[in-house]
Symmetry: C2
Subunit: 457 residues, 2 copies
Amino acid sequence: MRTRITKDQLKSPAGFGDWSPEQASALDHMLGIIREQYMLAGFTPMHTPLVERPEILFAKAQGEVTNQVYGLRLMKPAENSPTDEKNLAIRFDHTVPLARFVAANQGEMVFPFRRCAIGPVVRGEHPKDGRYREFIQADVDVIGDKTLSFDHDAEMISIISSVFDKLAFGPFTIRINNRKLLTGYLGSIGCETPDVVRRAVNIVDDLEKKGRTETLQNLADLGIEENNAQHALEFLTRSYTIEEAFEELRSLEYGKEFATGVAELETVIDSVRQFGIPASRYCIDLSIARGLNYYTSTVYEAQLDDYPDLGSIAGGGRYDNLADDFSPRHLPGVGVSIGVTRLLRRLIKMGIVEIKSKTVAKVLVASRDFQTEKELHLSRASLLRSAGIPTEAFLEKRDLGKQLNFAARRGMKVVVFTHHGNDDHDAGRKIVVRNLEQGDQIIVPEADLVVTVQSML
Amino acid sequence: MRTRITKDQLKSPAGFGDWSPEQASALDHMLGIIREQYMLAGFTPMHTPLVERPEILFAKAQGEVTNQVYGLRLMKPAENSPTDEKNLAIRFDHTVPLARFVAANQGEMVFPFRRCAIGPVVRGEHPKDGRYREFIQADVDVIGDKTLSFDHDAEMISIISSVFDKLAFGPFTIRINNRKLLTGYLGSIGCETPDVVRRAVNIVDDLEKKGRTETLQNLADLGIEENNAQHALEFLTRSYTIEEAFEELRSLEYGKEFATGVAELETVIDSVRQFGIPASRYCIDLSIARGLNYYTSTVYEAQLDDYPDLGSIAGGGRYDNLADDFSPRHLPGVGVSIGVTRLLRRLIKMGIVEIKSKTVAKVLVASRDFQTEKELHLSRASLLRSAGIPTEAFLEKRDLGKQLNFAARRGMKVVVFTHHGNDDHDAGRKIVVRNLEQGDQIIVPEADLVVTVQSML
């Protein structure tokens, strides 16, 4: 005999959540919009497996992600089971698999290569503070052969803009920066080694989370003089118009890297404007760094203006050489990633995304007497479905009232059933079409079923 | 310094394949059709995570699947890493997670509960003979509370029919059987214990793969007398019309279970007819058993008539109690599963599914002189995209000829670029719209860009 499973065991493991039908509908709706915008911009889906070789993943894993890679092991192997489990690990993002794919297939590829990837990734994090261990990332990237113009960076920003316009979660701002500008500046205020620069970048990136006092302390701990740290906070968080910003940035002398960063940023912003992105949708934010990521130039992230606590809702940037470690060819790239799971779960929790219908079905085919009317019942369902109307047929013996209640509880809009009038000699050939939202109903000939239902949806 | 990755390491692990952009387009097209048909029949998507508790999976795993469950382990855990990896395993199907979800949430659910699940599952099989370790299953199931009418079984068959009608892989046949009929018969010819019946069911199920001689030998090895084994092969593989079949089946006296199976099968077939499924799409096949699965009554599987070697392309059946082991409530169910990965990979290999365009983009925005025309170039891309036309903008400096070549190689249909006529004083405001398929082009005013492109697609 098997042991019965306890109630606690029926919960999915922490950080690996279910999406109930109503939540899944919201998720699918969101993914559909993202996918459509990605495809309108010519980014073709490309799928890599959930499972990659660990050496591929570890060649690119940086920082804490290194400790979050799950490998696979057969739990109850048989004598003849595959024995290569040491070669199997789960992807933690879509970019590393892209790098592998491009390195492996570059001979047959046409550059610039554009692809989108929407699907789950897994990280062994502590499941708290709205963090998930399995989450959906929706990415686009474009990879160039040797060179890639900065107009591609602007295009990424235009894609973020069109996606969040269509998602309609309210006004948003895309903050744009350049890593060279940031690291050039940090170098000039006393960050002497690349490692110190890197750590300073992360401290600056956490500014919004940690606040001014802690950030100043962290910069001081890194060996940066107090007046320099003060200057950094002021300089990096100043808010001015794009024209003002470039007027000042161009005049500053923080060395060659800084000047390159300013010029790159100006090219990107110029191109963003030419894509026709409304000026209210973007700004320059010199404190944006995108954390531990491998970005080397342009970086950007988006926030919802009305919900700054949600933090970054999408972000990305330019990386010098995607296939670094995998191929001698120089393949620069730029991309965007939307962390769909975390964003949508929080929007649902906050009531910003509404969860309504429990079913995709809009119509219920019901019956007063299923057994005698079965043939009509089933053929009506088939007819409505072939007309493209999502239709559920109620196939259990239940009172008509219960069937109407079932349709209402599940959020359907229309119920149809045979009309049983007393006078009408051909009553069986007429149908009641009841509108559950309005509460009214009309009686129509069988032949008018589809058009009548369509008119109510 | 990091070690460079070798060419062999750039291949995804055996049994975990990439889908190149052109293959991914075919996959997404196929999944889109399946999903649409599932939703038209009122089956709402419901997502469960990739990762489940092992005790849930092992409570339901049967046969060789037991040895194929992959658990997770952190490959390089840090001191503060989560330590619950013994509680994490990857799902091997969608049905066990459904059982868990229903058992956990039954209090808030409305029955019959319909859901579809389309996504990857993982099994530690040997990756050979077109077997994949990661593959996409596309399932629908309906779960009843205590009872569930046999019309649901017929509805599943109607869904298989509408999916494969729309997929247009050619004519197909859905073979229908009933497990009670089969086990009742096998009991009557000398399979005395449930275990022997179960093993005989599997032998019969393998008939098509193994052939008559081996099957007879296997039945003999099981202790079935030779004349009984001979009779079984004849009885179970006879081909007759549905009317002939029931006339005979009703008259046979193989005990109560057999008679129940015949009656259930007749109810299902009757309902299949009433759903309006063309008679050419289905038949009775008494040898169908669906292997080691947990089905207890109706079973069915589909084959492509022109490609019998592909074997079963979809299948399913009725199970008595989904939440068995998880809940005391009796929850009968019936479902369908399509093994998308295996089927599509083979159809692509055989050339039945054609792989064409390398991109979703239909239009390329090009330029003779990108630098001077950049603003027009980018705004044209934005305009076409907001008109719903998948558009790629070529953002590198390249000869126009190379850009045209790029569009053609990637399978786009139209290229647009500024007209530079000699006479025309407002040449810059006119656009060349070139049809790559026909090889012709027309020159139109800027304002006609969208309508002209639309007329060519």
